[in-house]
Amino acid sequence: MTDVPYETEHDHNVQGHDVHEPHEGLPGTIGHVSSWKSLVKVLGALLVLTVITVAVAQVDLGRMNIVGALGIACVKASIVALWFMHLRYDKRFNFWILISSLAFVAWMVGYILMDTAIYQQNITDYRKEKPLEVKPIESGSHQ
């Protein structure tokens, strides 16, 4: 390392970096340089998963359709986060920011879904008393 101030602190605080991987880059480069081959492979994987998710959706699996679609979407999102967004090579702290944010997402969706069915009857009863006002529709009237 150099003794000049303003220089890079280098990789000692970058965790999760695989030392056996050939390290590309000019001397003093900040951050992990992804090889173009790995980037193209990641895109390939994402496109294959997209084809799979479209194919699976054509088959009626009942409730399993949404489970499958969300499962594949989660795998795709993880691939994007780990490779395209460099989280695999980044400081762990950034990874935990993402995870904690997702935990709050799960918390919010989960808690709200828990009691949403309870009030459905009220809405149904209200709609029976006061049906939606329906205007007559003409074809192409929305140009």
């Binding site: 951050g31 173009w36 969706v109």
Partner: protein
Amino acid sequence: MSTSVAEHETRHEALPARPKELAMHFDTLHQQYSTGKLAMWLFLGQELLFFCGLFTAYAVYRGNHQEMFHYAHYFLDWRLGGLNTVVLLTSSLTAAWSVRCAQLEQRKGLLITLALTFLCAGAFMVVKYFEYSHKLHIGAVWGSNFGVATADLPPALLEKYPGMTGQQLQLMGMGTFFAIYFCMTGLHGIHVLVGMGLYAWLFVRALRGHFNRRYYGAVDNVALYWHIVDMIWIFLFPLLYLIG
């Protein structure tokens, strides 16, 4: 290890020239880079929570009105949605590649990848424009404005449910589905437009030669933003277009 600025000062030595890219409140370029990246990740965490409200609305409405999503998916063309998915995934590759080019100081590559990302984002918006204009034309819009004439219903829907009328869908509250649809894809579309602006800005800066191997935080952070936009679409595409 490197000698700190303070040590230089106590030894009354002349400091080496400070890099012009280094803001005055940072000690090193690495610190500057890490700080920017940390802030970007905090912002992206907030972005997920921001979209989460809409995903919750989707989940609640779907939980109670499965049939609505079944009828609605006939209105959305998965081929157009799939095309946009491919376009956006490709732009994510070029965005990630632009970071690599900046790190390796490949000026030409950087300009090409930034331009390609911008163009893919533009292509996404063009497809979106055709989708939106068709829906506005037939009246498949939000809330009580929803009103699609039976003649304008998607042929596949009429084939499956021969007796279905536009009025019936209206009474079921199909407008709520389209309110969710337009809010989710609209907010996402605004993010794509912002991304286009950011890539135009990066392109100009790259033309002026602002970036180098130790100063490319802007390229990296905009790419992170762009990947989050891509990630949101990865969920929107199957949730809205595919599962009915």
